[in-house]
Symmetry: C2
Subunit: 293 residues, 2 copies
């Protein structure tokens, strides 16, 4: 039996897996992200313990270079994470393991995995959005992950920001009050003076968070017209948040997008990942499976 290797390369941790899909996982490990040499070295060591792999996929934090014609294809490019700018992630793995390596963003991987096995099966376009320390979005569209000039940076769209209702200016060093600047974990902590997970259930911060997420989703609905939206990230562990987001998306679209799933079945339209916290690493496996041999 042939197996595929997958790495969810995150800024905080790496998750490595040998599998053919969620129902056929041979091995899995996770370890903290330290230096590129050490972290990618541990991944290589893990995969060497297993039988020869048919191919590997990497679903990577970014920004990354996804242009196959570029000399820095497969690199992490300009990340603020110390030690990691200009790291040839795909090249190091290919050289050490001698297998084809598919490479994409973490969120494109997660979108592909949720489309292939998870909560967005049969839904093209499928949008995956994650909200945590940062905010990122990936999309499966016309059968493939969405790339382009670079890759989507959905966390950096500008939202309508009512400065009177919310005087907090956002923490994004590039844009201040973009989506990430207003709604990622650090924004909640800086605005309210305490981490999101310690805010009580009736704290107004949750309504505001739902509002910002819904504003972004209504823009993404108008731009991408996804058939399903999968929301990943720790913030949705908060009871009631996704429900508030759904109601607010309906309010913001205000009946304009005439689709029964938005007007009547929004709980089937805006959903949590079907693959839980394995969406990322299974995305890497899916990227490897999608390679043409």
């Amino acid at each position: 039996m042939e197996y595929f290797g997958g790495i969810e390369a995150g800024g905080t941790k790496f998750v490595c897996m040998v599998a053919n899909g969620p129902q056929d996982i041979l091995a899995e490990t996770r370890f903290p992200t330290t230096t590129p040499q050490e972290t990618i070295g541990r991944a290589i060591e893990f995969f060497r313990q297993h039988q020869r792999l048919k191919a590997m996929g990497v679903a990577c934090f970014g920004p990354v270079d996804l242009n196959p014609a570029s000399p820095t294809y497969g690199f992490i490019t300009t990340t603020p994470k110390p030690g990691w700018p200009n790291t040839d992630v795909a090249g190091m793995l290919r050289a050490a393991l001698d297998v084809p390596v598919a490479f994409d963003t973490d969120v494109n991987g997660a979108a592909l995995a949720e489309y292939t096995w998870g909560a967005a099966q049969g839904c093209d376009p499928a949008l995956y959005l994650t909200i945590g320390t940062g905010i990122g979005g990936g999309c499966l569209i016309n059968g493939l992950p969405m790339h382009g000039l670079v890759h989507p940076e959905m966390g950096h769209i500008r939202l309508a920001h009512d400065w009177q209702a919310d005087p907090y200016g956002g923490f994004c060093p590039y844009h201040g009050d973009c989506f990430e600047g207003l709604a990622a974990g650090p924004a909640m902590k800086l605005r309210w003076g305490q981490p999101a997970e310690t805010l009580p259930a009736d704290h107004p911060g949750w309504e505001l968070e739902a509002h910002y997420i819904a504003l972004a989703l209504s823009d993404l609905v108008c731009t991408l017209s996804p058939k399903r939206i999968v929301l990943g990230g720790g913030v949705f562990e908060h009871p009631g948040l996704i429900e508030r987001v759904r109601v607010r998306v309906q309010e913001l679209l205000n009946g304009y997008v005439q689709s029964p799933v938005i007007l009547k079945h929004i709980d089937e339209y805006i959903v949590r990942p079907g693959l839980g916290n394995r969406a990322g690493v299974l995305g890497a496996i899916a990227l490897a499976l999608n390679l043409k041999f």
Copy 2:
């Protein structure tokens, strides 16, 4: 020689063409949009004068139903235009002319035409945005026009709106101050009390218009990562507007999207249509050419 038929079905006028592309146009006509019966009837009459067509394409104003599995596929659905809601545009043509009919939004057609023959050749994803009486966007991505749950409605994304700088609340009946509500032709007229084309070159309305268009474009760059953006619509006849938009997009992205075409060659990135005012009807021809036989 076999030819294809194309209709740019607009809310104001219909443009009909028999062609194989921009270099091989056999016939072309345009007439005002009146009732569906009369307008589609005139189109049918025009195409009947010409030799038998291999296929037809319709690039249509909307909202439209693009789901081939739907009983109302090929219909204009909920348009506010009197007489036109629930009109089976594709079906009427197919019945009268007995040819395969490809059907898409006007802006997806234009995106496809600009990608095939115009200013976005070789650029996938290619974004086409038009700003006139309304605002609409289409996109060619992974080789195909972008559809989804319905179709993109890029004119209805919410922009950051500084109410102190611009107290005008927007004219969109659904969303008030969405992109279309703030920046389409009627918004300029209502805000300043005179039509856009009569505003002097140094009127502050032009800087504000550039700002709103650039806000939308920077969001679309972060969401779709297009390789080129083609801007259609009468408003860009105004000298200097597209140049202001380019500068403002760079300011808003603020160096975050690390691509030479954004940082250094934005005049090659944000461009006017290569096909001029024929992008729409040639889009219809391109849709017909793309049909699988």
